[in-house]
Symmetry: C2
Subunit: 103 residues, 2 copies
């Protein structure tokens, strides 16, 4: 493979990555909307916000559905970050912290 051929192939791969990323952004927003709904329901019914057991179910679900090639540890760390960001959003809906950064 020449360097020119390689560059053309890389460009093709990057178009694919950008498309995948846009779909991930859409799904993360869809997840945020459901998490916001959960927050509203919990506030209304005065149920506890933080449920560590539910978090374990989330990890069990992603691990079970992972067919690879991404290793289980990597996908778990990605979801730890997603859950962490969602928790921050949900918490701010209840007690606003004006001194906190944007999300």
């Amino acid at each position: 493979m020449t360097q020119d051929e390689a560059r053309a192939k890389l460009e093709e791969c990057r178009v694919q990555i950008d498309d995948i990323d846009r779909r991930i952004v859409e799904l993360v927003n869809e997840r945020t909307r459901v998490v916001e709904e959960i927050g509203r329901v919990k506030r209304e019914a005065q149920l506890p916000i933080y449920e560590p057991k539910r978090e374990e179910q989330v990890f069990a679900n992603i691990t079970a559905s992972n067919r690879g090639p991404i290793p289980a540890d990597c996908v778990r760390r990605i979801f730890e970050r997603i859950i962490d960001e969602m928790r921050t959003i949900q918490r701010r809906k209840i007690v606003p912290h004006p001194e906190d950064p944007q999300c």
Copy 2:
């Protein structure tokens, strides 16, 4: 809303979250496969693995496609984690570090 009604609604939301998460896992695996292909092409053509400019393009793409409600900072941090995990996977394909953890 009674606590029973709230619990039924939460259950419904969790089914939705689990479905969204499985789709995210699938996309993250699709992304990993393309990143692996990029790694193969770069090795074959002896092109540099790390390209900070490309990373900025990735962030520009996700920021432009984000319609919310997730704030820009949050989605950026999620993608920082995704990219970080992919970089680890890609690096290990070139120089294996047997002492490193699984991914």
